[in-house]
Symmetry: C2
């Protein structure tokens, strides 16, 4: 049966990436050795790491603009801590915009290291929208936002205007849409949505931002990791390779511009169906709807098991909503083909015919 993978992360990867990753586990670069049993200092892997870092900057159009790219272990949850460690001054203050569970976690973890202020929040309506007309104080060490809210299906379309450094968790929409990435001073993202599989984070940071780092352990220090070219300690070798292959695939496809068009078309099809279909409804504010994670609900919850079984029987995987949000969520990352969205839409239509 053909599978349609709507998983929210780890999530669908291009078939050619899976093929090459699988081969490398048996025999990397015709070395007679596996990728996962050679030294990370082997020139063949050092080249992969450097290429992956360069590809990230190239795709974001941030080459030669004073930015560095890192691939580090830990998950975005570790970057919550590292960001505060590197940017929050001992007597300083950081601003956070609370647009969901992850944004809130980022804020709570940072609060262990200094003063943290909630600048805006959409918690009042269960994170179903993105706060607008945000006034950002100019005495912040940085402003932190989560560009796309995986659980609730909302996404920043415009970004707060501010002179303070703009830091964003772009875990679930990096590389997915045309943006002027030079607006951001630090971008981080776990890899397992649009940038590979789990086990690493991409961090893209303006070098000049790191001159004020306070006294912190080496493993937390972005500057130290940049000096060591993302090899301060042993990287997650396999995950770096999958990111390299995924970014290479994206470049060959035509980069972010090409995928942006595809992603918009997929999102339009999916939202049109939710709006049209009499059995389902969406909760995210229309103007803030995410192109990556489409959340929707059954009007009649008693139909849940039947719809779940229909999805299962049609090879539709991973559409269950996050346990804190309920309902359904179709994650439509870069590698998800339009045909999978068409399939889900067709299944929803068939379901409507049956129960209307």
């Amino acid at each position: 049966m053909e599978m349609h993978n709507f998983s929210s992360g780890p999530s669908i990867l291009p078939p050619e990436v899976l093929q090459k990753a699988s081969e490398a586990v048996l025999n990397f670069n015709n070395s007679g050795l596996s990728l996962i049993e050679i030294s990370h200092r082997d020139p063949s892997f050092v080249e992969i790491m450097n290429s992956a870092r360069n590809l990230a900057l190239e795709l974001l159009n941030l080459e030669n603009k004073g930015y560095s790219a890192l691939f580090l272990q830990g998950g975005a949850s570790l970057e919550f801590v590292r960001v505060a460690n590197n940017l929050l001054k001992v007597d300083g203050k950081a601003g956070y915009i609370n647009t969901g569970n992850w944004a809130n976690n980022a804020q709570n973890e940072a609060a262990y290291f200094g003063a943290v202020v909630e600048i805006a929040s959409s918690k009042d309506k269960n994170y179903s929208y993105i706060p607008k007309n945000i006034v950002v104080p100019n005495n912040l060490d940085y402003l932190h936002i989560t560009t796309n809210n995986t659980i609730y299906g909302t996404q920043f379309k415009d970004f707060p205007e501010t002179d303070v450094p703009l830091v964003c968790d772009m875990s679930s929409d990096i590389f997915s849409r045309n943006l002027d990435f030079s607006k951001f001073d630090l971008i981080y993202a776990c890899a397992q949505k649009n940038a590979g599989t789990s086990g690493i984070n991409l961090i893209v940071v303006k070098d000049e931002l790191l001159n004020k780092t306070r006294s912190i352990p080496n493993i937390m220090n972005y500057k130290k990791h940049i000096e060591r070219e993302s090899m301060y300690n042993t990287p997650s070798v396999f995950s770096v390779y999958v990111s390299y292959l995924t970014l290479k695939w994206l470049k060959d496809l035509g980069g972010i511009a090409a995928v942006d068009r595809r992603n918009l078309a997929k999102a339009n099809l999916m939202y049109s169906e939710i709006d049209r279909n009499s059995l389902f409804y969406g909760t995210a504010a229309v103007e803030d709807r995410s192109t990556m994670n489409v959340t929707f609900f059954l009007k009649d919850e008693k139909l849940t098991t039947t719809f779940d079984e229909l999805c299962l029987s049609e090879g539709i995987y991973g559409v269950k909503g996050h346990r804190t949000a309920g309902g359904y969520r179709a994650s439509m990352y870069n590698a998800l083909p339009m045909t999978s969205v068409q399939k889900l839409v067709e299944v929803m239509q068939r379901f409507e015919t049956r129960f209307l």
Copy 2:
């Protein structure tokens, strides 16, 4: 050409582990989906995570003894910080034994969080031995040791007698030898030597040790990770699977007892040759020689290129010493077959015949 992989880490894995890992990247459990693109909350992966954690405790003979096992991202270098975060009291003091570069790094990173005392050191002789007759103060929050020193080729055979919690970095010799692991209150190890590939750490900790954790971020908190069954945040899925396969392989082989015998035989053969061969010498104190990482040097450094080329031509990979130590290092982890050691010894003998 048959390859002989002496890499110090990431390092050799059993062929059947590589085969299964490679297959899972294409099709996991006949799901039609790749292991690296399914949700980590998928029951099939949750089972892998739980099995890996249970296997670790079972192999160490620590089941039902009040210990928990975790697989977390970050590298052992992150555990340097997490250990201090969890165990070093605000007004407390931790003791460290400095037996090499990594031991020293562990100590330096902990010092960001409180008072740290060097209890013993072998730096005076370039870390070529393990300090003996160590007197451990009884007012420490914990004593930290590095059981095997990958760079210098030394290994603790006996452990300091102490009533304070004993914490050890067992990165390069966990699962390699018979020990009473219940001597230790917290064991951590990066996976890429005897427990899988890079991207995760195994942490085995006595639960009662964590009752005094100070206020620290969730991502640093072992207790939080135990509550969430090692899924507080998205794990490094592929690396966890490789660890699961590697530990399963070890269990099927007969566990630590079986591999201990094999490792001793490999080490004896290798050290006998270094002692016998007139062109080479070792520097590690004989009684402290590591069974995992055998360091050796050419008496005549001018022969370096020739020996390197001979190794290369014979498929011997990864015997270059660490950049800070120079010379050679044969890492002989669990998965390295005796035939690879025999090959290296044979090459050293042929080399001697040529240049004597």
